[in-house]
């Protein structure tokens, strides 16, 4: 067994180096694939070496929550292993372990913080045997990938039932998660935001009354000029730079977890403030004299929240980018469930539309403004005066961005691969994830 294990690690490490040498790729899946074929217990062997394993899942907010938890834990002096969203499935995790461990398969970390794709939960959770599991929310998301919300909930539930000792942290405002915790025996920590802010959130399913008390409640939430937030939990004020109330949930999940781990308020506050904003999750980029705030959206709930957030800005300039690759969700019909009509209150100064399904967005907007005049192949006036630039080929977008003299603050609302393309366009390089 031991020999097999060392051999597996050796071969997988060679594969990992080979991938890195042969291409500039990260080689995230191949070593994992090889290792898994040679030794099916290897994931478990690695995971059990880490004293504290934290798993984060849910449809929205996984990456941001993971970044906050990681930032706080590192700030407390712990050695933290974290995966990236590109390696949130079984083989990616295994590759990460192989790369980070030594030749004898030994890992040297105090804790691990993993974001795990919902559908991957049943495949890895028992092996990871986490001490803590955060479930952020269950929205309709990437339905073409997973089928249905019910199915996703069942996948997460069946996974958690295999790790009954783990403490589960849930967003108690989400009816789907209130339902979920009813069918698991684990210890549960509930977090929520003050009811007056809930109007903006359209959770799936009926909002039956909350039967139990909330352990961590965020109150007195203020959105700053730069869209970051300040809020109070149990009388203590926290600040967070990621935009909007929906990110308060992500911060709150991390605060609940880290408080339970016994970390001091000061360390939590600092870790929260120092959290580097995840790519595309409210990240700010400056180029051509303009400022771009990148706001990832992949479902109606997320888009509605971003549009509500933009009501705080007077006449924002908006860039909408919709792609339909697998990572975006191949089905773009969700744009008809999203309340683009909120744009009538946002009152944007201009909109630039791009991406492989740009024409679908243009049509959706035509229905918002109910009237359209085509000025040229790429320019429309919608409604009475909204100027819309239509450019499906994203790489040609910079002509609109360069031609502006006055510095502008753009709010870029984009799906996942559209964000990768946009970043590359603006920064001239791809993400190093």
């Amino acid at each position: 067994m031991t020999f097999n294990k060392y051999l597996t690690i050796f071969v997988a490490k060679v594969a990992s180096s080979a991938v890195k040498l042969l291409s500039k790729g990260q080689g995230t899946a191949l070593p994992g694939l090889i290792a898994e074929k040679m030794n099916s217990k290897i994931l478990k062997d690695y995971a059990k070496q880490i004293p504290e394993v934290i798993v984060i899942t849910g449809t929205n907010g996984k990456t941001t929550t993971q970044q906050v938890v990681t930032s706080i834990l590192r700030g407390s002096g712990k050695r933290v292993l974290a995966n990236s969203s590109g390696s949130n499935m079984r083989r990616g995790l295994l590759s990460l372990f192989i790369n980070k461990g030594n030749a004898r398969g030994k890992l040297d970390y105090d804790c691990a913080v993993f974001e795990i794709e919902e559908a991957t939960m049943p495949k890895v959770l028992a092996d990871l045997s986490p001490n803590h599991i955060i479930v952020t929310n269950l929205y309709r998301d990437q339905l073409d990938a997973y089928g249905e919300v019910e199915r996703t909930k069942k996948m997460i539930e069946s996974a958690i039932l295999k790790v009954k000792k783990a403490r589960v942290y849930v967003n108690y405002d989400d009816p789907q998660l209130r339902d979920l915790i009813g069918s698991i025996p684990n210890l549960v920590t509930r977090y929520a935001i003050s009811p007056e802010y809930l109007l903006d959130f359209k959770y799936e399913g009926k909002s039956e009354p909350k039967k139990e008390s909330v352990d961590f409640l965020a109150e007195k939430i203020k959105i700053n000029e730069d869209l970051g937030s300040k809020f109070k939990v149990a009388g203590i004020t926290y600040g967070f730079n990621s935009p909007g109330i929906y990110n308060v949930y992500n911060a709150l999940a991390a605060i609940s977890l880290c408080s339970n781990l016994g970390l001091s308020t000061k360390i939590i506050q600092e870790g929260l403030l120092l959290t580097k904003i995840a790519f595309g999750r409210g990240e700010i980029i400056k180029k051509y004299g303009h400022t771009y705030r990148l706001l990832l959206t992949k479902n109606p709930a997320g888009l509605n929240l971003v549009l509500d957030l933009l009501k705080n800005v007077s006449n924002p300039n908006i860039i909408l980018l919709l792609n339909d690759k697998i990572a975006d969700g191949k089905d773009v019909s969700w744009i008809w469930d999203a309340e683009f009509e909120k744009l009538l209150d946002v009152k944007p100064a201009s909109i630039i539309i791009g991406g492989s399904r740009a024409a679908d967005l243009l049509l959706r907007l035509k229905y918002v403004y109910q009237d359209s005049v085509q000025l040229s192949e790429h320019e429309y006036i919608l409604g009475e005066a909204l100027r819309v630039y239509f450019e499906p080929k994203q790489k040609l977008l910079n002509k609109y961005l360069k031609q502006d003299d006055a510095p502008k603050h753009y709010f870029v609302i984009h799906t996942y691969t559209a964000m990768l393309e946009f970043r590359k366009l603006i920064l001239g390089k791809a993400i190093e994830d």
Partner: protein, 267 residues
């Protein structure tokens, strides 16, 4: 200023909007509303839900797709409280647009992926069964179809003699496979890309009297304005006879969206 008498109203009844709305089906209602209002009609929207006991006849009935659990709830309510009314309306040649799960529930029966069987309304001579419960068994992806020539001929009257396209674009996502049980029902279209009603027959959707059924989400009507107008045209003609106006709309952006996905699929 038009006199009050000349204002024409079309009532669209949305069946179970809470339970049966998935993958952007709401876009169909948005399209009907806009296309009516742009032509000067009053759009009257009614909701027929689980608890609705009394309802007035409408001109167009719309019902979308839903998740399996919601479908079972809706089916019980349909059979118990609404079956007679809906049958009457179908017989009276009222216009129905049924997407995905609604298409299945209007048929004779539906057997889901784990073998659970439910009885449908039995209005459409179709049966639906799901081969399994795994994702591989789902019909899932972009859908491109060519409209049934008989229906295309009707569209030419309603929409435009120079029909810009005889295709329908959409996105399908269903586990149930639907088969016709007799020939009183005809397909809405022939499949060019995708699965359609089932994995074998290369046909999509159905037309039975004025019931239009389809597996196209996406939404169906916004990007297929010719079909949207056929539905409106029949409904208005049903209600107002020959005396109505049906001005042409500017559908440039609609066709841009239709053609951009169509061209990509057949490339």
């Amino acid at each position: 200023m038009k006199s009050k008498n000349s204002v024409k109203t079309i009532t669209v009844a949305h069946l179970y909007p809470k339970e049966m709305n998935i993958y952007g089906d709401l876009g169909n209602v948005i399209a009907l509303k806009n296309r009516l209002e742009l032509r000067g009609y009053v759009f009257n929207y009614e909701v027929i839900g689980l608890k609705t006991k009394r309802f007035k006849p409408a001109d167009i009935y719309f019902m979308g797709g839903g998740q399996d659990n919601d479908m079972f709830k809706v089916c019980d309510d349909l059979l118990l409280n609404k079956a007679d009314f809906i049958k009457q309306e179908v017989e009276a040649n009222k216009v129905f647009l049924l997407i995905c799960g609604a298409f299945q529930l209007f048929g004779k029966s539906f057997i889901d992926g784990v073998g659970k069987s439910i009885e449908g309304l039995g209005i459409l001579p179709v049966e639906t069964r799901a081969p399994g419960n795994s994702l591989e068994d789902r019909c899932l992806g972009n859908l491109l179809t060519e409209i049934n020539p008989d229906i295309a001929a009707e569209i030419r009257k309603a929409y435009d003699n120079s029909l810009p396209s005889n295709t329908i674009v959409g996105f399908e996502n269903h586990s149930g496979q639907t088969y016709f049980t007799d020939d009183t029902i005809s397909p809405l279209a022939k499949v060019i890309i995708g699965k359609g009603n089932n994995a074998e027959q290369k046909i999509e959707g159905a037309r039975y009297k004025n019931v239009f059924a389809s597996y196209s989400h996406g939404s169906l009507l916004p990007k297929n304005p010719h079909l949207a107008d056929l539905i409106l045209y029949i409904a208005i003609k049903n209600k107002y006879g020959i005396d109505f106006e049906f001005p042409k709309l500017d559908d440039k952006i609609e066709w841009l969206a239709h053609q951009s996905i169509r061209d990509r699929l057949i490339k």
